[in-house]
Structures are given as C-alpha cells and as structure tokens.
Amino acid sequence: MTGQQWVSAADSSAALPASTDVLVVGGGIAGTAMAYYLAREGVEVTLVDRGELNREASGTNAGSFHLQLAIHQLSGQGSGADRERLLAEARLSLAAFSVWQGLDAELDGSLDVHLTGGWMVAETPQQVRTLWDKHELEQLAGIETEVVTGAELRRRAPYLAENITAATYCPVEGHANPLIVAPLYALRAAQHGAVIRTHAAVLGIDLHGDSGAKRFTVHTDAGSIDAHRVVDCAGAWSGELAAMVGIRLPVRSEGLHVNVTEPRPHLLTPMLQHIGRRLTLKQTEQHTFLIGGGWPTPAAPAPHRYPTSWHSAAGNTAVAVSVLPALADVRVVRTWSGVIVFTDDFSPVVGESRLVPGFHACVSSTGFTFSPIFARQLAEQMLAPRAASPFPDRYSLDRASVATTK
C-alpha cells in the first residue's frame, strides 16, 4: 500500500508501562481488534506480542470468507442438536462477514474487501449428492447458494474441467487482504491511545486474587506489567498462555501449506473449493493464483516457521489443476506455511473465565472471518458487563478445565 503508515518501530519498541487496565496478549487480528475496540471507547489497553504483529495465522492465511459449508461439517451429521448448532454457526458467519464489509469505513483504510462469489465443485455422484444436502442446509441457514450443472455450469464457469459435474455457487463469499488488516487495527488502536509493544514475550503470570485493580502481574522478556484484566489472543499459543493462570484450553494447532503462482491474465473471479478434496483456490488482485485448502506441513517449534512440504505442494496442486486445467503451465513461485489453531469440539474460545475472573480469551480457528465480530462483542461485554454472557456455554474458557477436574 503506497503511503500507508503503520505503528512506528520507535513506539512499538518503547518500554512497557508499569500497569494497564487491559493487557491483550497476541498481535494478530484478534488481539489488534480487541485493542482497537477497547481503546476506541477509552479503555486503557496495552497489547504485547512476542514478535512482530500479524506474523502467524492472521497474516499467513489466504484472507478468504467461505460461507458455504465444508465437507468436514457435513460428514455424519449426527443429532438434531448438532444440526441446530451448524445452522447457528452459519448464521453467525453471515453476521461476521457483514462486520467485515463495514471495516474499510470503520478503520479508514483499504483492506481490499471484495465480494467475488465462490464455487464449490463436485466430481462423483456421491459428491453431487452431498452438494445437494449442503445446499438444503444452507437454505435453512439463510446462506444463499444455488446448484448449477450441465450446460449451465459450462456457460457460467467455462474454466472448470470436464469432470466437474456440478457445483454450488454462493454470491456472498469474498476475501480481504490478510497482510494489512491486523496492522491497520493496531495503528487505529494506537491512535486511540492503546500501547502496542512488539518483541515482548510473556514468560509467566502472577495472580493476585479477584479483587482490586491489580489482579495480574504479567512478566515478559521486555519487563513486567500489572493488569486488571488479561485477554488471551495468542491463537495457536493461547493454550500455553492460559496454562500460566491454571486454565486448560482445549486447543491444538497444525501447520498448513499454501502455494502461490506467478501472475497470469485474469481468468477467475470467484473463489473455488472442492466438496470432496482439499482445495481452496483464487486468483488475487495481483493476478497470482493462491492454492491451499488444508494441506499439512511438518511442525516446528517457535520461533521457527513451519517448513512447507513438497508432498503437500504436489497433492494440493494436483487437485487444483484437475479442477482448473488452465493451471498446467502456470508456475508456482513460492510456498508458505501458516499455523491454524483449532479445538477438539470445533467451538471457539471466547469470553471471560469463571475460574480465573479477569482472564479473557478471543480464539477461533476461523479467526480471520470471526475475530472482528468476536472482538467487538467481547469488548462490548468488557465495557458494560451483563450478567448473562453473550456467548454460548460451548465457547467457555473453562470447559476443558472443568471436564478434567470432574
């Protein structure tokens, strides 16, 4: 972005203040959004990250908003309660995307939010049946999709391979630029008075009971800070942070592999996904193709980046070229990896702990889509606490701790 300013290194490397009302840990999209929504309302807030801002999942994802239900959500649909929950999450994703569509104005910047529409394609008869089931659920949830087949599919998506027999089209999917969203949140937060400190890794947290202004002393490798409230926005490392106050979060993390090609003349406006194979694919503003969809990378301990994997590159691009044959002579110029956090029960972790009052979290595996809405809701709750949490019980920070102490 030409001329765009960011939080200056002079500011982000200054000394930590001695105390703060809210300490946000993690400089990804969740943390920077928390800092922004709190600072905007005049709350004293300090954000720390052990490295630079936006370097993990928030900045290494492909920036897509997929509203269509994915295969792993559809396999073995189970009970009616499961179905209700699926529908609730689908409706929430629509609300999350609508927050996104107002973010350019909110943050006074250009986040490259684009509504491109998206195809989810099917090859086998079984996949086509799943596509129809999915479409039915989406209708119930209020997600607009249509099933397109035969000559109509060829006419509307001539770039798809012959073996693609059907596809659902969702006009309200889109994407934004993941490289600048969190940094812009951080800049606006700082302009509202938030303190943003990079290269401050949390080493330990002392608890001082649940009364008084100082409930936590957080020790970092750049000094210690007293805080009345702490918000865990550490994504893949949120479990390690929560463990410092004795809470066990049900989170795990994996490395994911992404491929990017050289730019080619514009071919594809909508995003592509596959109902039965791991693929997400889109042509970017810069006309490169981003190819991903959940292919694994080997793990590596922080601060190392997860290595990318030739096996994943070869498998991922094979799916891509079998859907979009025009890719055959397009060259992959680079791969990269990102980390994804997810929970065993597939629910996010959002709200305040009952076990450790004042300790909050804002963590979700679909964080690029959901962090703006969750951060805004959590900030509202922290500003004007209501007796009833706005978040369902299954989002609870304490669910794994309670389960293990039973």
Binding site: W6, V7, N61, Q73, D82, E89, G294, F346
Partner: protein, 497 residues
C-alpha cells in the same frame, strides 16, 4: 518418480560449474556414485559457459581461453562414471530427499546419502535511478549473451563495476567486438604499495596475474578508457538507455558532489561483483556469516567444506565469491570430504589427495588479501537509489513505498508483507539486499545484522503440470485421528489455504 538413472546416489552434486565438476570428479574418483545436475543445457557454469544448443564450435583455437579451460574441465568427467543431468533444477530439499525438475518432465525425487551444493553466484544487484530501463544489463547477462548466443545488445556500451570483473569483462567483451565507450571502476587505481603487496603474493598465482596483464593489454589494444574511483549514479533516457551519469566516489564508494559527468550510450553493463546464490543452502538450513567482499551472506563451512548441516557440503562461488580457481579446489575438498565421511577413503588418503588443493587455496587467498584494498565493496553502492527508484522490479515497489514499512519494523518479512517487495517471480534475488540495506540504514544497524526473508521452496518456479502428483490423496484435516467425529461447527475459512 519416473525416469531412469541413479535414484539413490551416494552424492548429489547441484551445479555443474567449476566447483561442482571438480567435486563430482573427486568424489567419483574416490569411489562414490555421483549424480551431477545443472539447470543449464551445458556444463561449465557461468565462467566456463559453453555456446548454446544449435551452435557448433568449428575452431576451438579461435575461442577465448575460458572456453578452452572449461571444455577441458568438462571433458575430465568423461569415463569416470558420473551421471550428469542437464536442464535439471533442484527445486526443493527435505532431509535426504531432493526434488529434481527437468525441463518438460514431471518432478522426481532423488534420495541421496549426501548433498553437495555448488550453485554459483549471480550479479550483485545495484538499485540506482534508471536501472530498470531497457539497455541496462548485468555483466553476467551480457557475458551469457556473448558466450552462448554470440550477440551484443547495443552499439555504445558503458561498463561500470568493480573488482577483477571490471578488468576482465570489458576486455572479454572487446574481444567479442563490443564497443566499450568507457569502463568505470569504483575502486582506487593500484598504487605502488598495492603492486608490492601483489608481487609478494605472486608465487603460485602467476596464471591469475598473467590473465590480469592480458586483460589490461586487451583494454589498451581496443582503446577502452578505464577510469578508477568512479561509480555510475543514474541512467537517463526515454524508454531506453540514452545517457549514463557517473561520478567520483570516496573510499566508501560515496559520491563526491560536483564530479558528475554524462556520457551518451545505449547499453549500461553493471558488474559490481557477484553474490552467492543461497536459495538451496538457506533452504536446507546452513548457517551463514557475512562478508561484503565475498558477496555479503556467505556459507559457514569447515576445512573440508562441510556446512553446519550434517551431510551437506558446499563449494565455490555459491559459498562466498572467490572465483573459479578457488571453486575448483574447494570442489575437490568437498568431493573428498563426502568420500571420507562415507567411509570409502581414509583420512590419510583424503589428506594426501587434498594437500595440493589446500596449498593452492592458501596462495589464492594470500593474493586476495593483497588486492583487498583495490576490490573492497563500499557501502555507497547501496545508497544510490532515490525515492522514485523501483527497488522490487517484479512487483514495481519504489523506495518511497518501502519507507513507511521500514519505519515500522526492522524485519524484512514484515516489510515484504506490507509492500509485496520480494513476492514476485525472482523471489527477492534482485531487491532483497537493497531492502536490507535500507532497513539497516534507517535502524542504525549493520546490514550484516538484518536477516534475510524466510527461505521457501521451490527455489525455482515450477510449472504446476510438473509439480502436481495425482497419486496423492487429500488429507482429512481438522478431524480427530480416528475420523469418527460428528459434525463440526462453523463454515470454514481456511487459515492457510
């Protein structure tokens, strides 16, 4: 995983220049099964580059000396059992597995017990106003045109550079019929003290010094004016090179105001030395050191050319630019070391065989020390760009676009994310050093302290048709190991897809 030949060599040598050929010869001579790959259509590397396909040399005596030396080196591989694969790039390495892409074929994996990297060097990129104009070419590029295609890109050539290249290239180009308007050497003219130092280092280096004298004579014969202590500061022209502006510099290569001169030209050839090609060494995780005079980041290695990564050896200009004589001897040491570590020769045998190479290397390095004052690269070379100068050519990122990002961070990965500098097809080969230099200057740190961006495969662009493997099944991610989970919540937004 198709194709014939050696699938599990004892040693995979990457790069068929002086270091790689010499390493392959030493290792094969000691009894290892060696696979040697090079991405070009012919062996020889840059220095010994042979005429391209379609060209036939009818009279080797009429070719230059490097051609003849190169041909002799290449022919030394005949009959010793080294398998050679040309037009083949190693694009990824994971542990002992290397992925090879041969032009027009699917990728294949080779599992090698040991890996020897001899990737060579590329021209030191120098970002200056007008460097993206058609007609600006690197010394290596111009040399390739002349050596492989026998063409010259223009009528009036200005050569600007430094180091041994500044003498050799204009002389070689003049030999090929180029009209060199002027040759600019950024370093100082040799003084009496330099001549004395060089004379003291002369034993064992007569061939090199004879070459230097020959190049000097060639320049005189072709009436090429060689001007010391001057650097090119910008290039001007409407859509192509029309004028080259040069100026006098101090010992740090910083421009002395009021010394600018303009010369009409249609080609500017830039030859400010070379930098090691580090893509593979960085990908496998070899530790680096920094020495600007050897090309900036250089590969750390022991007296046997072992890198910090077990089973990985490196030799030649790809480890630190010291030229083809050093490359040949380093290659020999590395090849012997691979054989030694594989247990096919004893340490005594390795030491005996290595002794002459070690002696020659010591002499070359004594000469380098003697010429250091003349050939030292000044930091001013990275201070020529202005706000309007394109730094990242692939993504067209100008210096002024980079500065706000550099104001916010000293991490080049973050600068890259904010600006896209380094995201294009060259993957930062042309801009990364200049971005590091800008970061270093703004944050008051030595450029040696600014780490390069995260290395990633493929180290060469690979067509999806060659990369894709249709036998691999999609993984089932997000599901517990036994795949028996119930439905999951929330439409997915891929976090890295």
């Amino acid at each position: 995983m198709t194709g014939g030949g050696v699938r599990q060599p004892d040693l995979l040598v990457v790069g068929g220049g002086p270091a790689g050929i010499s390493a392959a010869r030493a290792a094969a001579g000691a009894g290892l099964r060696v696979l040697l790959v090079d991405e070009r259509p012919t062996l020889g590397g840059q220095i010994f580059k042979q005429p391209g396909p379609g060209f036939t040399v009818t009279d080797p005596a009429a070719m230059d000396k490097q051609f003849r030396q190169g041909r002799a080196l290449i022919e030394s591989l005949d009959g010793i059992g080294v398998e050679v694969r040309l037009r083949t790039a190693v694009v990824a390495v994971e542990g002992r597995h290397a992925v090879l892409v041969t032009e027009g074929s699917p990728a294949e994996t080779v599992t090698a017990a040991r890996l020897l990297l001899a990737p060579g060097a590329h021209d030191r990129p120098v970002a200056l106003p007008g460097w993206t104009l058609p007609g600006v070419i690197t010394a290596g590029g111009l040399q390739t045109l002349a050596k492989t295609q026998r063409v010259l890109p223009g009528e009036r050539i200005v050569f600007a550079g430094a180091g041994p290249v500044a003498l050799a290239f204009p002389a070689q180009l003049a030999h090929y019929g180029a009209h060199i308007v002027t040759a600019l050497e950024a370093g100082p003219a040799p003084g009496v003290a330099d001549v004395v130092r060089i004379a003291r280092a002369a034993p064992g280096n007569t061939a090199l010094l004879r070459d230097a004298a020959r190049y000097r004579a060639l320049l005189l014969r072709h009436r090429v004016p060689l001007r010391y202590g001057r650097i090119v500061v910008r290039v001007e022209g409407a859509g192509k090179v029309e004028r080259v502006v040069h100026a006098a510099v101090d010992a740090d290569w910083r421009v002395i105001t009021g010394t600018e001169r303009t010369v009409a030209a249609d080609v500017l050839c830039l030859g400010y030395g070379f930098v090691p090609s580090l893509e593979l060494t960085r990908l496998v995780g070899c530790e680096l050191d920094y020495d600007e005079d050897l090309g900036g980041h250089v590969v750390r290695r022991d007296e046997w050319q072992r890198t910090s990564v077990d089973g990985v050896y490196a030799a030649g200009d790809g480890t630190g630019v010291e030229g083809s004589f050093v490359a040949i001897d380093e290659g020999r040491l590395a090849g012997l070391a691979a054989a030694l570590d594989a247990g096919v020769i004893s340490i005594g045998e390795a030491d005996r065989t290595a002794a002459p190479a070690r002696q020659r290397l010591a002499r070359r390095r004594a000469l380098s020390a003697a010429t250091n004052r003349l050939y030292r690269v000044g930091p001013g070379v990275h201070e020529l760009s202005t706000a309007d100068t394109v730094i990242c050519r692939c993504e067209v990122v100008r210096q002024r676009d980079l500065l706000p990002a550099i104001e916010s961070t000293a991490d080049i990965n973050v600068v890259k994310a904010y600006t896209r500098a380094g995201m294009g097809p060259c993957q930062g080969k042309n801009c990364q050093r200049q971005v590091c230099a800008l970061i270093a200057r703004r944050h008051g740190r030595p450029v040696a302290d600014i780490p390069l961006a995260t290395p990633r495969m493929p180290v060469r662009p690979v067509p999806i048709g060659a990369l894709a493997d249709h036998t691999i099944n999609s993984p089932t991610l997000f599901l517990p190991e036994d795949d028996s989970a119930g439905p999951t919540a929330g439409p997915t937004v891929e976090v890295s897809g």
